[in-house]
């Protein structure tokens, strides 16, 4: 993978990225429902994705992504976090990474353009699946509660 250098850079800064994201999630109006989630749990979730990004992008299977994010959707439903807040949070997790690359001066440089293209595609595919499975898990839990 051409983008592996960028992925390792992200993993190396996972603490800082998780910190920034947790702050953004707790201060954004679009994710205010996440204030119902204990801060330590929120931080740990953010950290898990960033710390093991190469695993998520390269090694984990579709069913592992499904298992993890459907469970996340179910948990947020049980915490009464609105689904749109969860959706936006997952989008923000990706955006936070891309903002980090800009801050690091990686974005747009001639050396990194191929890696960035590849990373953007992989991140897009991974987060699309994460959102899809989290939504399915959330909807399933909501249906069970209503029944």
């Amino acid at each position: 993978m051409i983008a592996l250098r960028l992925v390792h850079l992200i993993e190396h800064h996972s603490d800082e990225l998780a910190e920034t994201l947790t702050h953004r999630l707790l201060s954004s109006e679009r994710t205010c429902g996440l204030r119902k989630v204990p801060t330590a749990e929120l931080h740990q979730r953010c950290h898990d994705v960033y710390r093991h990004l190469s695993d998520w992008l390269l090694t984990k299977t579709e069913s592992e992504i499904q298992e993890t994010f459907a469970a996340l959707g179910e948990r947020r439903a049980s915490q009464r976090v609105p689904l749109v807040d969860l959706t936006w949070a997952l989008m923000l997790t990706k955006e936070n990474l891309l903002d980090f690359l800009v801050r690091e001066g990686v974005h747009g440089s001639v050396e990194s353009v191929y890696g960035e293209l590849e990373l953007l595609r992989s991140l897009g595919q991974f987060f699309d699946r994460a959102i899809y499975h989290a939504t399915a898990g959330y909807e399933h839990a909501t249906l069970l509660t209503a029944a």
């Binding site: 689904l83 955006e95 747009g108 353009v113 191929y114 953007l120 959102i131």
Partner: protein, 165 residues
């Protein structure tokens, strides 16, 4: 600067893109529920994005995106399409474009590659906002099918107060 040449190419080939996307939607297990949407309507929605891609990415405001995709979300809820299938349909719409751009990328020089990178970022940004607003619209559509309660009213007002995506 995004690659306008690629945007124009997609717009010119929009009808062919829409046809191949609809085939993908029909065969995808995760978008099965979209079978409840009339064929003509599905075709028009695909075409609406691809044939006006430059407008969606460069000229339409966040309010335009919000209004359009919340309306579609409301409609899909009323058509009883599961929300996961609605979301997957949008992801496939993006994925279809990305696969095309990836193939084009092999033919590009360094300068145009930067244009492609910017285009991919804009596409990602646009589809995230479309998905977010479609989900909000879907919730509204679902709630409007249920007798309103004071709690639902509060939820509705809170959603309306949110900043537009």
């Amino acid at each position: 600067m995004i690659s306008l040449r690629l945007v124009r190419l997609i717009e010119t080939e929009a009808a062919a893109f829409s046809d191949s996307l609809r085939q993908k939607l029909h065969t995808s297990q995760s978008a099965q529920g979209l079978g409840k949407v009339p064929e003509r309507e599905l075709h028009d929605r695909c075409l609406e994005i691809y044939s006006n891609l430059g407008d969606w990415l460069l000229h339409k405001s966040s309010i335009d995106v919000k209004n359009r995709f919340q309306d579609i979300g409301v409609l899909r809820a009323r058509q009883n399409v599961p929300l996961g299938d609605v979301i997957w349909g949008l992801f496939l719409t993006k994925e279809h474009l990305w696969a095309f751009l990836e193939r084009q990328g092999f033919l590009l020089g360094a300068v145009e590659l930067h244009g492609e990178l910017e285009l991919l970022r804009l596409l990602d940004h646009f589809f995230d906002r479309a998905t977010y607003n479609q989900t909000i619209g879907y919730d509204h559509g679902r709630e409007s099918a249920v007798p309103s309660t004071s709690d639902a009213g509060k939820t509705q007002r809170r959603k309306e107060a949110r900043a537009t995506a």
